[in-house]
């Protein structure tokens, strides 16, 4: 199969999965916007009213970080079980196993696009108007996409061999949510901790950068973004080599799972 056929197959699979999912619910694809919105409103209610931790424009503050985080967590969680879920196909066809995590990542991307548009409109509603700097969102989204692909390929592979990791992923995502500066400003942490988080937690860097750009607070560290892009691109290449090497072994594991 040619690479273009693979890309098209991933796209067709993702679009059909979306259509299939949407047709199951009365509100169809509107859930892709309602669900993240309801989660953010829930957090807003807890932090702003119950805990009285709110600051000025707290809802937007939450949204700017929550949207990139939810994109990451949902995509990785969905992709992690994607190979095991396709036992039927894998036992019948010799197919590149990476197609399945890629399809799951693509489904999450398509679901995320309207949410991103909604986020931009929310910024306008809060009085944060677009500047030229907003164009820096494009490399930010691109690098987050690379991070998602790399982590998804890794977790999907591990879960093929050790399914227990599926349970750990939910716990890691919860931990990551509290360590990525979604509910608080990373710069408000005592000096070395905030820097450590931004340096060693790519999701914290992503959330902080989205907020910096959208709330017109300044510019993120472009060199760090380039470094992340390079690291995760390399990880994707390595994962493809591993997938290629383990193709038949993975098939046997999935068939006997």
């Amino acid at each position: 199969m040619k690479i273009t056929d693979y890309i098209k197959l991933v796209d067709v699979n993702a679009r059909m999965t979306l259509k299939s999912e949407a047709s199951r619910f009365y509100l169809s694809f509107l859930w892709w916007i309602f669900e993240p919105l309801m989660v953010v409103l829930g957090f807003y209610f807890v932090f702003n009213y119950l805990l009285q931790r709110g600051q000025e424009n707290y809802l937007l503050f939450l949204l700017c970080a929550k949207v990139p985080f939810v994109w990451f967590s949902k995509a990785v969680t969905a992709a992690s079980g994607s190979i095991l879920a396709q036992k039927g196909i894998i036992s019948q066809l010799n197919i590149a196993k990476a197609i399945f995590p890629y399809s799951a990542v693509q489904v999450s991307l398509y679901k995320e696009l309207p949410v991103l548009v909604l986020l931009l409109f929310t910024c306008l509603a809060f009085g944060f108007f677009p500047t030229q700097q907003w164009l820096w969102l494009i490399p930010l989204i691109l690098v987050e996409y690379l991070i998602i692909i790399a982590v998804s390929l890794l977790t999907a592979l591990i879960i093929c061999y050790v399914e227990d990791v599926r349970i750990l992923i939910n716990m890691v995502m919860l931990l990551l949510m509290f360590c990525s500066g979604i509910f608080f400003e990373i710069s408000s942490l005592s000096p070395p901790i905030g820097d450590y988080l931004l340096t060693y937690n790519p999701i914290a860097f992503m959330c902080d950068s989205f907020r910096l750009i959208l709330m017109n607070k300044g510019m993120y560290d472009v060199n760090h973004l380039l470094l992340l892009g390079a690291i995760f691109s390399a990880l994707i290449v390595v994962m493809h080599l591993i997938y290629h090497r383990l193709n038949y072994h993975m098939a046997a594991r999935v068939i006997n799972s």
Binding site: V12, M16, T17, S20, G88, Q92, L93, N94, A252
Partner: protein, 258 residues
């Protein structure tokens, strides 16, 4: 490959499954115990055997889906191999058309070519307007028809067929068998798995009988199927004798208790 017409060669294939049954408990099963076979261009080889004798595992190895535990399968890289699969990747909430497109693409066909095959697939599957409806609305027979039509349209060098002829109602079954026969009587190289001796005799030139993971007989399809048939009759006879013995034992126990 040493011979011109040889398309695939398998030597001393073994396959051992190791399945986890708890934290420290594993279950090992040797499904194949040293199978060697050659496949020549244009021939149809039947693989006979009872359920659970390793036929499907052998097909997966020959089709290049999994590797054997030991032994080799030699096949040129440009030779396309496919295990004919009915309804592979079907999603219930999308239409027959979309499912046929996706399933065809999964089997290695490009998007453009898969799209151009859709009318022929619907014509063969005889779904009419249902082709545009979600397959969750289909009967089991309709799903099988769509699955068979999608699978049979794909062009490959070696086709591995795992008992797919019993699909749909009697009329469609006949049509499916005819379509398969016309494909196999052409230049199609195929390996056909079945536990039905008459079906293998009808379709195949050569047959291999697999019993307990080993080749029990190999050669002319009529000779092998006859041997297999006789063996099955013997097994049936033994089974009947066993049942008769059990019945006799129960009757003796009953009369003793009375």
């Amino acid at each position: 490959m040493t011979e011109n017409s040889l398309i695939l060669q398998a030597r001393d294939i073994t396959l051992t499954y190791s399945m986890r049954r708890g934290m420290f408990n594993r279950f090992n099963h040797q499904a194949l115990k040293g199978i060697s076979m050659d496949l020549y261009r244009g021939e149809t080889v039947g693989i006979l055997g009872r359920n659970g004798e390793g036929k499907s595992s052998l097909m997966r190895i020959l089709a290049g889906i999994i590797n054997p535990t030991s032994g080799t399968v030699s096949c040129a890289t440009d030779v396309s191999r496919i295990l004919l699969s009915i309804g592979v990747g079907f999603m219930p909430n999308i239409s027959g058309r979309e499912n046929a497109l996706y399933s065809t693409m999964l089997q290695g066909v490009s998007y453009k070519k898969a799209k151009s095959m859709l009318t022929a697939i619907n014509d063969f599957a005889e779904l009419g307007e249902f082709f545009e409806q979600p397959i969750s609305t289909y009967s089991a027979g309709m799903k099988a028809r769509l699955g068979f039509a999608t699978a049979i349209m794909t062009d490959v060098d070696i086709m591995f067929v795992d008992e797919v002829l019993s699909v749909g109602d009697e009329n469609f079954k006949k049509k499916a068998e005819e379509a398969m026969l016309s494909k196999l009587n052409g230049n199609q190289t195929a390996v056909f798995v079945s536990h039905s001796a008459p079906q293998v005799r009808k379709i195949c030139n050569r047959a291999i009988w697999i019993d307990e993971g080993k080749i029990r007989a190999e050669g002319d399809a009529i000779w092998v199927t006859n041997k297999y048939h006789l063996h099955m009759l013997e097994l049936q006879k033994l089974e009947q004798e066993k049942l008769a013995n059990q019945e006799q034992q129960i009757n003796t126990q009953l009369s003793a208790s009375e």
